[in-house]
Symmetry: C2
Subunit: 345 residues, 2 copies
Amino acid sequence: MNPELHDRAQYLLKTLVERYIREGQPVGSRALARESGLDLSPATVRNVMADLEDMGLLRSPHTSAGRVPTARGYRLFVDTLLKIEPLEMTQVKDLEHRFSRVQNSATLLETASSLLSNITHLAGIVMLPRQDHATLRQVEYLPLSEHQVLAILVVNDREVQNRIIRTERQYTASELERAANYINSLCAGKDLYLVRETLLEELKSAREQMNMMMVAAIEMADKAFEQCPPSDDFLLAGQTNLMEYGELSDVEKLRQLFEAFNQKRDILHLLDQSLKASGVQIFIGEESGYEVLDDCSVVTSPYEAEGEVLGVLGVIGPTRMAYDRVIPIVDLTARLLGAALNKQH
Amino acid sequence: MNPELHDRAQYLLKTLVERYIREGQPVGSRALARESGLDLSPATVRNVMADLEDMGLLRSPHTSAGRVPTARGYRLFVDTLLKIEPLEMTQVKDLEHRFSRVQNSATLLETASSLLSNITHLAGIVMLPRQDHATLRQVEYLPLSEHQVLAILVVNDREVQNRIIRTERQYTASELERAANYINSLCAGKDLYLVRETLLEELKSAREQMNMMMVAAIEMADKAFEQCPPSDDFLLAGQTNLMEYGELSDVEKLRQLFEAFNQKRDILHLLDQSLKASGVQIFIGEESGYEVLDDCSVVTSPYEAEGEVLGVLGVIGPTRMAYDRVIPIVDLTARLLGAALNKQH
DNA sequence: TTTTGCACTCTCTATGTGAGAGTGCTAACT
DNA sequence: AGTTAGCACTCTCACATAGAGAGTGCAAAA
């Protein structure tokens, strides 16, 4: 097989994938011959297509229906044939604008996911910032009622969490203030998972010293952190967009896909894989390793603020998606979200 | 039309609805004659069915397909013919148990919605406790960074909300404490919507007195309440259950229904109507007034704690649902959720 | 009032048919 | 060699047709 032919085969694959993405119909030899612009007869194209099929890049839905790309075909297309359109400046500005006027960090994430879904007409997904590297900024206790204390944890300078703690006896405001000060001097600035270790150690020495105030303070703090969820979660927008694609419109398949979104587990695993990646990452069809996603592609990008990777965002849609548009959008959204979170600070 | 016949017609309507709910197929005269146990020929049953159709209680999907109930048919069935099965004691105990071991009030609501959806195999919905009658318990300010203050609002003794407020200058902890004390003495115990009025008035007199500390305190508080959302929201579980019912399995209809869930607006309006009702309320098909719900029924019940109605919960499913099972389940869940929220206190 | 009998309607499932699209293969052409 | 033309073949899709089955409505009989 000489290289010139190989080039031609690649070119034909490219135009086939492009056309299939555009039209959604299996592509036949004649249409491809015409569309390619190469001066070839359908018969020649058929030969090439047969080769591509042997290589596992194409397949026929049935004997006489033209060809569609396989996951491996899309992969080759995306990796080496795809020319990514740079986004138009107006679109970039528009996105920037929409991010700029959101203040709250929670709504920032929501904005990101709904923007992703609106612009791409796919499902947009944003993994919540992970907590495992969260550092405790400060703790505060407020008396709520006789047996309840409200613990407020300020984490990472940008996030606040509340826990309601049941206590054995009533505490006065000044007692609680002292307890909080004590915990703050002990733990402020530490990683959350370090905090709990510190607390345990301190609890031992406090018990030895018989310092009941300190014991109570620590036990309260421990109860607060105990409730700290691993925060494995994501936001999803535009699920319903997926119902409009013919290839997914089988109700049973859709049900399983939506079920997977609800379960969250598999999706989170997949997103986790992109955490370490440095830029846009693409999972095509079976590549993801999850059966429900067999007919879907997932395009992700990690987003970061203050130099640290916080999470992953992206879109989920049919394998037949406009990668050239989707990839830069996911990329830009990740950057903008990061920048917006930075400004938050 | 003599009363005996009327009774018979009602009885036949009842068995028809029961059978249709059970089987999901239009019921023909012969099947109904047999199932009714009345010693009638199919022809007689046909006459009765024709009458019922004239009355708008039944309709035929097409000329020779038997009959199915209309919304009005279901209505009559539910209002006067339905015998509600009391729940089995084991099931009651089981539900109680599941509620009993949840501590957090947010997860209580989630538990309720997922229980509803799991037990009924429909979509479970729980409206979040509404805030309009919320009374402010206390306000607390924490310094976060140079230009940011964290405001913590304790509302209704059981709920806590955070806002991050941008400030012109930096405030010390003691300044903030004094500001909070001031606001607390002013507003604690008041309704949220009263609070804002109070703040506005107070702001005027503070300005006159040129008391800059008070002005700053009030402005901060106002910014905090400004962000107070009306909290029009609900939790939804088991959307995917709805995909398994044939009558809804048209992808386009489903899309519109799910879209309505996302939009939330219409659904909230509907739920609002049940707030004032005292017990289980049922919207059948078109009765709801929302086109997307034409093929759905909604069974709701308000739930209350400490003698006050907090919100509404219920299920959404196809009109053909097992009302006799669903109604007591919704009823019980509302009671149990209320009881659990009470214990929370 | 109820039932019987009967013609009629409508759906559903098979079945068949022809057109259209596309393929694979072979043989001819460059 | 690589390319092309020709051709038989396959598969789907749209459409028509037919019969079975279910159920109806109506008129006449019980």
